[in-house]
């Protein structure tokens, strides 16, 4: 037992406790002392950035799970020409740095972007949303979808087709099958894919750096505090809060789902 506990404890302190403690202490060591933490809530600049960050991450996670779940199950079930090619190129976005993804969003929805040109051609206004929440959200979804789809495909392979047949033998329609068999079966995969997606969207910097000119998200604020204002304490305080909140959200999601997962195991 102890042999398993020790490496786990070492891992946990090296990757979690020690950095977080250090960040927490540095956060309180600036000119305004521990008030750095209360400022995050009282200063609307910081607080809005915090809300924006979590809002985009949440929207990204929900959308990615929805699309990824549908596409993943579809890809696992149906064999069609070009399927293996699709499976092979699907991981492509994961190889791109965030900046490249940001650039692609600009090409799509920027001032010279495809969507703008099409909307003009159709006689409307030039549609530009690359530099808004929507642009950021698009970039994050694009980046997170492949991993989610692959996770779902792998999990869908393991679903027992007999369960579905059993449900259908009682007259279950497609919705029953989805809710009673497929969703419970995919739940662990959805949770882990969702957690990774959420954490990635919270911390993604490259995409935000390219796109977040009009909106503030926390990674950008931290970057600004750190490099431009040289306010290391504030950067640390913000980082600590970002990390702690992310951890709390993921822990809550896990335990909320965990109750039902335990029942499903």
């Amino acid at each position: 037992m102890i042999y398993m506990f020790l490496p786990a404890a070492a891992f946990f302190s090296a990757f979690f406790i020690l950095p977080m403690c250090r960040l927490f202490l540095v956060g309180g060591s600036g000119a305004i002392g521990w008030r750095a933490y209360s400022v995050i809530v009282t200063d609307s600049n910081y607080f809005n950035a915090l809300l924006a960050t979590f809002g985009v991450a949440l929207a990204t996670t929900v959308t990615t799970l929805l699309i990824g779940g549908l596409v993943g199950v579809f890809l696992q079930r149906y064999r069609f020409p070009g399927r293996s090619f699709l499976m092979a190129i699907i991981t492509l976005p994961m190889a791109f740095p965030g900046v490249v993804i940001g650039f692609m969003v600009i090409m799509l929805a920027g001032r010279q972007g495809l969507i703008g040109q099409i909307s003009m051609a159709l006689g409307g206004d030039r549609l530009v949303f690359a530099y808004s929440f929507l642009g950021l959200f698009l970039g994050y979804v694009y980046f997170s979808l492949p991993r989610t789809i692959l996770t779902i495909v792998a999990a869908a392979e393991k679903l027992d087709p007999k369960l579905e047949e059993a449900a259908r033998s009682f007259g279950a329609n497609t919705w029953h099958v989805v809710w009673d068999v497929i969703m419970p079966g995919l739940k662990p995969a959805l949770i882990s894919a969702g957690a990774i997606c959420f954490a990635t969207a919270i911390g993604a910097f490259g995409t935000a750096f390219t796109l977040a000119t009009r909106i503030n998200v926390l990674p950008m604020v931290i970057y600004t505090e750190f490099t431009l204002s040289a306010n290391i304490a504030m950067a640390a305080a913000l980082s600590f809060v970002l990390g702690a909140l992310t951890w709390i959200v993921l822990a809550l999601a896990r335990s909320a789902a965990g109750n039902t997962v335990a029942a499903a195991a």
Binding site: A166, S169, F170, G171, A172, D180, A265
Partner: protein
């Protein structure tokens, strides 16, 4: 109990063949009718098409063009399993892991939108029938194999299906439990009077449960008959050898009887026979050569508990099997005199 099943269904397959998309011919054209309330067992070696036949009846597979499935007089060929109102029990049980035992049993009732209180009554009734009331709130992963089997049966029967289809329901259980559950299922099916199709590759199970047995091999029906017919009048060499153990002797018909290398058997049936078959239990050991029809030498002896199984060399291709006393069997190497009951002789 028979009130549990509204009215039994008769099922008819007409010209049902099945070729899978990859070209595998799983089933040759099959005609079959199952009368209302009957228990029909599909028996055969692995890969012979039992599951495919069952899935055709269930509506999980479609027969090749031209094949038709009738429930009573209604053509249900194009109906999916959702519309066929049958109960299925799978070898792997296929219980919903995210639901309790009671929720599993009540699943079909929920789909039927039965009022909640009625559902509770029905669930309790089913749990009582399968004697698993105490497990109602358990999760599926907290059940033993035998308990899961009971839950699967309760779940299938809770909706009072028109017919019950079981695919090797006992194969995953150990021998002792299998015997116990086999007896229980047999009593249950008799008391319910429900039309049942039962797939197995275990001949003892087939004999014990079936009103009729279909022996299949390589996607073809070898024989359909009652367990007694299948056992005592096998229609083909395959059936003869697949069911129970069978001895075989080559020889010719002479005025004295059937003459083979080991002696002469009492054979008064007309026609030619190059081979006769008989079961070990129809061979008796006699003490003197005077009454002997066959003579052989004991090659090997296996103690089986209630009897001893002798392999006796009679100068034919394969030795014959003879049953002997459990306590004082013949010794290996000993010369053996035998008679075969005339009724037990068959030729195919």
């Amino acid at each position: 109990m028979s009130a549990l099943v509204p009215q039994a269904l008769s099922i008819r397959l007409q010209g049902c063949a099945k070729t899978f998309r990859d070209g595998t011919r799983a089933l040759e054209s099959l005609d079959l009718s199952i009368s209302a309330g009957e228990t029909l067992v599909l028996l055969g070696p692995s890969g012979c098409g039992k599951t495919t036949t069952l899935r055709l009846i269930a509506g999980l597979e479609q027969p090749d063009a031209g094949g038709k499935v009738f429930f009573d007089d209604t053509d249900v060929t194009t109906l999916g399993i959702e519309a066929r109102k049958i109960g299925m029990v799978f070898q792997s049980y296929a219980l919903f892991p995210n639901m309790t035992v009671a929720q599993n049993v009540g699943y079909g009732l929920r789909i039927l939108k039965m009022p909640k209180t009625e559902q509770q009554v029905r669930i309790r009734e089913m749990l009582a029938m399968m004697r698993i009331e105490a497990l109602a709130d358990r999760r599926i992963d907290q059940l033993s194999g035998g308990q899961r089997q009971r839950v699967a049966l309760a779940r299938a029967l809770a909706v009072r299906p028109q017919a019950l289809l079981l695919d090797e329901p006992l194969t995953a259980l150990d021998a002792r439990l299998r015997d116990a559950l086999r007896v229980e299922i047999n009593q249950l099916l008799r008391s319910l009077g429900i039309t049942t199709i039962y797939v197995t590759h275990d001949q003892a199970e087939a004999m014990a449960l079936g009103d009729r047995i279909i022996v299949m091999s390589h996607g073809r029906v070898e024989q359909i008959g009652t367990p007694r017919e299948i056992y005592h009048q096998p229609g083909s060499a395959f059936v003869a050898n697949f069911i129970g153990s069978m001895n075989q002797l080559r020889g010719v018909v002479t005025p004295q009887g059937f003459t083979c290398s080991a002696g002469c058997l009492n054979w008064d049936r007309s026609g030619v026979a190059e081979r006769v078959l008989f079961r070990p239990e129809d061979v008796s050991i006699v003490t003197s050569s005077e009454f002997a029809e066959l003579t052989g030498v004991v090659k090997a002896s296996f103690f089986m508990g209630d009897h001893t199984r002798l392999l006796v060399d009679v100068g034919d291709e394969a030795p014959i099997t003879v049953l002997d006393d459990a306590r004082c069997p013949q010794a290996v190497g000993q010369k053996l005199y035998m008679r075969v009951a005339p009724l037990g002789l068959m030729s195919i």
